[in-house]
């Protein structure tokens, strides 16, 4: 005989028991998706969209970035760069990024070997920059706390505090970091934090004539990045590292490294 008391007890237990797996699901929800459903007022979070299908490899972004952020132009380090992927008919893939593409891709001879058009099955360009990860492994390992993540999701380096151990550089899966040859400290793309926080676009976005790059709040329903990320098929680079990158790519291919 099931009394009412037993019934309530069992009911409560069932509910409590179910609550555990549901909360577990909540835990595994990718941060990027979670921020899409959170209301805007709760947390502003910068995100970036790169439309690889539109990129022509002119490298104006890489050039503009260097000038804007005062990284010596001739130094072989880049806050943003463009990679070229050439899929050949024989199955080989050629990847290159001469000078980080700051002078653009001007000839069809990666590493000095000409590639004939008829050998190619597909070819495209992939611009890269710091992914402003939700779980930045660079910030995790900095022994001096010289690199940190801001409230709105951008990781920055304090140049006056960095000791130059290079731990963060080694621990970024995307190699977005390098040593700034002038300050001799770790450096990387900041999403042009000095510009975006004043309502401007990043230097690379301004320089791109093809509308490849876009920035905005991921959780602002009116922003373009929100619209793209929530309605189109986007992908991120190397999700297997668990960094939860916040640069979303349209038209990413499996040969992209």
């Amino acid at each position: 005989m099931v009394t009412r008391r037993d019934f309530i007890k069992a009911g409560l237990l069932t509910v409590a028991g179910m609550a555990i797996p549901i909360s577990a699901l909540e835990m595994f929800k990718p941060e990027a998706m979670a921020s899409l459903v959170r209301s805007f007022s709760e947390k502003k979070r910068w995100a970036f969209v790169v439309d690889t299908t539109k990129c022509v490899g002119c490298g104006m972004c890489a050039k503009a970035c260097k000038l804007e952020n005062e990284i010596p132009f001739e130094a072989e380090v880049q806050r943003t760069w463009v990679e070229r992927y050439i899929q050949l008919k024989d199955g080989d893939v050629i990847i290159d990024s001469p000078k980080g593409a700051r002078e653009g891709f001007t000839s069809n001879d990666p590493y000095g070997h000409e590639v004939k058009d008829e050998e190619i099955t597909k070819q495209f360009y992939v611009p890269k920059l710091c992914n402003q990860c939700e779980k930045p492994s660079c910030v995790q390992v900095c022994p001096a706390g010289a690199t940190y993540k801001t409230e709105d999701g951008v990781s920055l380096v304090d140049r006056s505090w960095c000791i130059g151990c290079g731990y963060c550089i080694t621990n970024c899966p995307y190699f977005a970091r390098f040593f700034n040859p002038v300050t001799n400290t770790a450096d990387k793309c900041t999403f042009c934090y000095h510009r975006i926080t004043k309502g401007k676009q990043t230097a690379c976005i301004d320089a791109c004539a093809f509308g490849v790059r876009k920035i905005g709040y991921i959780n602002d329903p009116n922003s373009e990045v929100f619209k793209i990320i929530s309605s189109k098929r986007v992908a991120v680079l190397k999700p297997e590292y668990g960094n939860e990158p916040h640069v979303f790519y349209l038209g990413l291919d499996q040969i992209v490294r």
Partner: protein, 411 residues
């Protein structure tokens, strides 16, 4: 100021890239990050050796106990220098202590280092106390003054006091073993936790480092002890050396096994990076890894040590080979790990700088590296003037007795 100072990216000078590597990709961790784990490894190994006498009562190691203890201090003092030289802003190293970020493995360095340093220093003081007091009472002049300071005002050499000393030494030596393991296992953790480098990213890393630390530490003690005693023209009793060789051969076997498991596992699971890793192991680093590190640095010395009728010369050669092997292992891990591009589609080659007008390049070169590797021996030489470590030797008769005792024991 050189013209190129500001256009030359850090790492670009000594890195040669091949195929597709990311534009910012260079060998950022150079020769000093090779030397740093090498030195801390020697510290840990030398200390463990001295503890074998103090804690585990291996009497036959008495002649080398003091020596290995003082030697581990000399090595320990030098251990942080490569780290400092590695930083691009060494003058800011204090920042680690001012705003330590505890999620970072490196931030614990000062804490672990100082703990260990205090254990070693106090153990040395207690071990040498009777000697220091005797010198303080007998000697005059500058040295006398030095010994008087070193006594720290305690002149009690009564039987009771000495007995307490002995107990304290035993406690310190015991506490020192886990501390030494942490000191070095932690270095392994620094590498093991770098998730972007497949060659480093294994939970076995701390243990691999620890075992190679012990073998290199014991080996350096064998080599230096034989050389030091020969230099001083003392009678060298073979018993302690034989015992060290035994320890060395045990740990060699474990170290080899661990490193082997790691590679076999990578090969068997054959993850995405195995393609590039196998090219590294069997082609680009094949000579360094397979020939120098494993065959000459582990397998050959193992057989030299375990084959019957071990001689002094054979022990010396085997230990030297182990030292070379472990150094190559550090090189292969640090440089080899970074040689594989994170794009898994290219390679980076490290060309160690020699001479350069640019200080940032010079300091990453061969000259400071050689200096750093010599420094512990210079320190040992100086320490030996104050705290003689080659004095506690067995006479021929004691040696024969020790041999007798040893032959009755299984381990």
């Amino acid at each position: 100021m050189l013209m190129d100072e500001h256009t030359l990216a850090h790492g670009a000078y000594w890195t040669v890239k091949e195929f597709f590597t990311y534009p910012n990709e260079y060998i950022y961790w150079g020769i000093h990050i090779v030397i740093y784990p090498y030195l801390t490894g020697l510290v840990a190994g030398a200390f463990v050796l001295s503890s074998l006498y103090h804690v585990f009562g291996k009497d036959e190691l008495k002649p080398v106990a003091k020596f290995s203890l003082v030697f581990s201090l000399a090595l320990l003092i030098m251990a942080p220098t490569p780290l400092l030289l590695h930083l691009t802003q060494p003058q800011r190293s204090i920042n680690i202590m001012m705003t330590p970020h505890f999620y970072s493995a490196i931030s614990a360095f000062t804490f672990i280092y100082l703990t260990y340093m205090s254990i070693v220093l106090s153990e040395i003081w207690f071990v040498f106390r009777p000697y220091i007091i005797k010198q303080a009472q007998e000697r005059n002049g500058l040295m006398g003054l030095l010994y008087k300071v070193l006594t720290l005002g305690s002149y009690d050499v009564s039987e009771k006091a000495l007995h307490i000393d002995e107990k304290i030494v035993k406690i310190l030596a015991t506490a020192g073993i886990p501390a030494a393991c942490v000191l070095h296992g932690y270095v392994g953790f620094i590498f093991g936790s770098v998730k972007t480098v497949p060659l480093w990213k294994t939970p076995l890393m701390p243990f691999i480092f620890l075992m190679s630390a012990v073998i290199s530490g014991v080996a350096v003690c064998i080599v230096t002890y034989i050389a030091g005693m020969a230099f001083k023209k003392h009678f060298i009793c073979f018993v302690p050396i034989k015992s060290m060789c035994k320890v060395l051969s045990y740990f060699l076997a474990i170290a080899f096994l661990l490193e082997g498991i790691d590679i076999v596992f990578h090969a068997y699971t054959a993850e995405e990076f195995w393609g590039i890793m196998s090219e590294l192991l069997f082609k680009r680093f094949a000579f360094k890894m397979i020939v120098v590190q494993w065959i000459c640095g582990m397998i050959l010395p193992f057989f030299l040590l375990v084959l019957p009728r071990l001689s002094m010369l054979r022990a010396f050669v085997a230990a030297s080979l182990v030292l070379m092997g472990v150094f190559t292992m550090r090189w292969d891990v640090v440089i080899g790990g970074q040689s594989m591009s994170k794009s898994f589609a290219g390679f980076l080659e490290f060309h160690i700088p020699f001479l350069s007008k640019n200080f940032d390049i010079l300091k990453e070169g061969i000259i400071p590296a050689v200096g750093l590797l010599m420094a512990p021996f210079v320190l040992l030489f100086i320490f030996n003037k104050v705290l003689p470590v080659f004095k506690d030797i067995f006479t021929e008769q004691e040696c024969a007795e020790a041999e007798d005792r040893l032959s009755q024991r299984l381990f």
